[in-house]
Amino acid sequence: MTDKSLCDEMYFNEFYTSHIQSASNFAYFKSGDKSTSLDLAQEAFIKIWENCAKIELSKAKSYLFTVVNNLFLNLVKHDKVVFEYAKSSPYLDVDNQSPDYLLEEEEFKDKLKNAIADLTEGEREVFLMNRIDGKKYREIAEILEISQKAVEKRMSSALKKLRAKIDGI
């Protein structure tokens, strides 16, 4: 384990390949800006490469997300986040094709999208890391260097807000 150094290009590439997508996603969850998310992630990897000697491989992952987070915070301009759904994504009830149902679902998706955009950054990153990247609370906690309890707290407060917004309560 100790001889696996990130200064070794082979290990660095392996680390890069397995985390670039989720680092980019993470930046996207925070900024909601498609054009900068990959840049932020790339920059974070460059920082890791430059400081490879100082970073243990086991800590590299949380270091990576911390750097992305810091880079995001350094951005002067924080636009309102905008999310979009993947095209051709299936509705919950695939068999129901009635126009009423489709319209209802589209309306729901719209509300949900806006509600997610209105979450706090902390809630949003946790919620979307779980929903989109399929990460478990344990892993999210590790990455963000917070407790699993804190992750769960953010999850439930996110859900609460989303439901309130959607049900119009």
Binding site: N13, Y16, T17, I20, Q21, S24, N25, Y28, F29, K34, S37, L38, D39, A41, Q42, E43, F45, I46, K47, W49, E50, F83, E84, Y85, A86, K87, S89, L92, E105, F108, K109, L112, K113, I116, F127, L128, N130, R131, I132, G134, K136, Y137, E152, M155, S156, L159, L162, R163, I166, D167
Partner: protein, 304 residues
């Protein structure tokens, strides 16, 4: 509380079948299910890992490993670049482009002092330009036409013309450069003339002349006869074409000739004050006649 934990567990994919059944019975599970379903459909920018890694390698190679990586904001860069261009351009014009120039029209002479008090008398249809800022270190000027110089003692003083270069330390001399005609007269001191990379020294009272690219053997002249400064021009064995050109310069007339040999040599002079007297002093010795029509002079050979 129990429900909340169940939901969290369910989203974390840790729910047993039994717990799921219980969850499905809660009244707002439908909304929850939709939230869970559709939120997972939010699209993130897909990273082409291979391409991104290649791009990263290029970036890390370009910035040395210890060097700080700064992302270029090109929009910002253009802004600075534009500002710098404006700044450089204005300062260039303010600081360096201060060439002074003096110009005379036809039938006009001008007397002025250079920054070191050297005196210049510019003959008609002539132009002088020099860099005012560098004058102290570099007494260098460009001349088109004819001028008389009274140079103050000091560093090398150079007059550049298209044909030759005249260098002195401190003297009085005259430089004349007209089309195909180049002439330097030394009135005082020693003048060095560089013509086609050859240097000729002219002591007081000598004249250096190049006509149509041919050097005239060194001649002497009368230093008291400062011709055009005394409002007259003097010539000694000069082709008529150059004499007539000088008439044009001094009197703003155009001259046409009919049956006249322009290469015939003329010795003599003409005054700058009266066109008729001037023309007579040229035409009579050469047995020619002239006619003035407005601003046009026609010279013809009355023998024919």
């Amino acid at each position: 509380m129990k429900e909340k934990n169940d939901i969290l567990k369910w989203l974390n994919r840790e729910t047993s079948d039994e717990e799921l059944l219980r969850l499905k019975e809660t009244n707002n599970f439908k909304t929850l299910e939709k939230i869970a379903h559709y939120s997972a459909q939010i699209e993130t920018p897909k990273v082409d890992i291979k391409e991104a890694l290649a791009a990263l390698k290029i970036k890390t190679q370009n910035s040395s490993k210890k060097g700080k990586f700064v992302q270029f904001n090109f929009k910002q860069l253009y802004k600075y670049a534009a500002a710098i261009v404006v700044l450089v351009a204005t300062s260039y014009f303010l600081l360096f482009n201060n060439t002074s120039s003096f110009k005379t029209k036809f039938a006009q002479t001008k007397t002025f002092n250079l920054p070191d008090n050297s005196e210049v008398i510019l003959n008609a249809n002539s132009e002088i330009s020099y860099a005012e800022k560098d004058w102290k270190t570099n007494r260098n000027l460009n001349l088109k036409g004819e001028a008389y110089f009274k140079v103050q003692k000091g560093k090398k003083f150079t007059v550049n013309t298209e044909i030759g270069q005249v260098t002195v330390l401190g003297t009085q001399f005259n430089v004349k450069k007209r089309a195909n005609y180049f002439e330097v007269k030394t009135f005082e001191g020693l003048v060095s003339v560089t013509y086609k990379n050859k240097e000729v020294k002219l002591p007081r009272g000598t004249i250096f002349k190049v006509v149509n690219g041919v050097i005239d053997a060194t001649n002497t002249f009368d230093v008291n006869e400062k011709s055009w400064l005394q409002k007259e021009s003097n010539f000694k064995s000069i082709a008529l074409r150059f004499v007539l050109a000088e008439i044009e310069n001094q009197f703003e007339y155009t001259i046409e000739t009919k049956d006249v040999d322009l290469d015939i040599l003329y010795s003599g002079g003409f005054t700058h004050t009266d066109i008729n007297i001037a023309l007579q002093s040229i035409t009579i010795p050469l047995q020619l006649s002239y006619k003035i029509d407005g601003k046009k002079i026609t010279i013809y050979n009355y023998g024919k």
